[in-house]
Symmetry: C3
Subunit: 184 residues, 3 copies
């Protein structure tokens, strides 16, 4: 009897080992999932109170109150946008999306993003850091979650962006589906 258990146990352990290993390298099921929205109102020279972002850099010939021509190529905008749990701009923010976007193509709308979600509420504490390319005209775009702190200590993953609303050059809202694959 003991000897039978003894033969079976190692196999059982082997299974555990291999699942421990594959859970690291091949787990495509997220260990954590969040859906959040953030809201961007660009400064146009006359909406100082409401604006949440501002153009701060532009190529030669462009100015800082109107997005540049050629698909805004070369514009850098700095933002501090409210994050909400639903798609309502007026919902209570659970955090702030802070960083920059850079328009970086001459013949279509694309941006390069470097930003963080910063939380300091009963919902979440800590931050999530993102970088990646955003080909805005695509329905969904994936960027990288490259790190986190607090509740999101050392997390990594992929965030899928969707343009949830787009009102000319006045307001846009992004839906962000965050899938963490390393959770610690």
């Amino acid at each position: 009897m003991a000897s039978k258990a003894c033969i079976l146990l190692p196999f059982f352990i082997l299974l555990l080992v291999s699942s421990a290993h594959s859970s690291k390298k091949k787990q495509y099921k997220p260990c954590k999932h969040l859906v959040l929205y953030f809201h961007d109102i660009i400064y146009n020279g006359s909406n100082k109170e409401n604006a949440t972002s501002a153009i701060v850099a532009a190529p030669q010939g462009a100015n800082l109150t109107i997005l540049a021509g050629q698909f805004h190529f070369g514009n850098i905008a700095v933002f501090d946008d409210p994050i909400t749990l639903d798609n309502n701009l007026h919902s209570k923010p659970v955090g702030r999306a802070q960083g920059m976007y850079i328009y970086d193509t001459k013949n279509t709308y694309t941006a390069w993003l470097g930003f963080s979600f910063v939380f300091n509420s009963s919902d979440y504490q800590g931050s999530i850091n993102f970088i990646g390319a955003d080909p805005m005209m695509n329905k969904t775009r994936d960027i990288s979650v490259v790190g986190g702190t607090g509740d999101f200590f050392m997390h990594r993953g992929v965030a899928t962006l969707m343009t949830d609303s787009f009102e000319g050059e006045v307001y846009f809202r992004l839906r962000v589906d965050i899938n963490f694959y390393e959770c610690w």
Copy 2:
């Protein structure tokens, strides 16, 4: 006797397995720790020799020699700051902190950071890459160490920033406690 060992050994192995696994996913004790300081002197139009950083972007209405109003919202500064082992600006630098900070809130002081520590000395060789949000008014702020090269090949971790000195808009010094949790 053999049969007893045989029953105990698997449990011993099981312990090993689970500790191997948790050392990856749950090890909150850093595998490497560094404390460094860096020093920033912003260009104000008349300190060309000493300045280590410069404002290069600003929102409409602001200029590049004085940090913007509204908590400097929209300013981007590029820096090349000396890194020292202690908090003395005049200590021999062990490397350079290079990159940018972006002031990104209208109603308090916060920044978004993207920068690297670059080492080429007998102390350290290689680089450490950081991004994250810096709510400066907090005593400590955590940002992500998202990668490294050379001595810091593939490292990841969390860096805790503390403002060690702040002299108006002339000079600031940050203490950086780097905790690596993936060391390779």
Copy 3:
């Protein structure tokens, strides 16, 4: 016999465990390798059609059509550069390198890079995200691959940059050797 197997098996498993662990932490052989080139033509005020990048930020006293003095310190350039499989500017692009470089030293040429490779072709689908310091005067420079999407889902690694061609301030071409050490 059973009892002998029972004593040996655990050791065999122990070996497996330790190799599983070390394959995570000590694998210095890349799990994937790519060599790509990208090509940058900076906007100088009169090459609107051909330019792939533009200066969008500069320190006080500099302008946006000529790189600044002092080793271009403080210039931010936004780029959308073609990626090719060989070193010929006119080869069919397999993707775009999009993001920014920041000149960040006053006494030599260095840059801080934040950019993505964006692929949407039969060769590759998805994106690779990079950040790091680029001391350009070195023959080779290592930056971090901090994440990826699509074919490069969750990948991490190190990219080695080499200046493959440099024609004054008109054109440069970088060779990028990407070594992924986490492939998923």
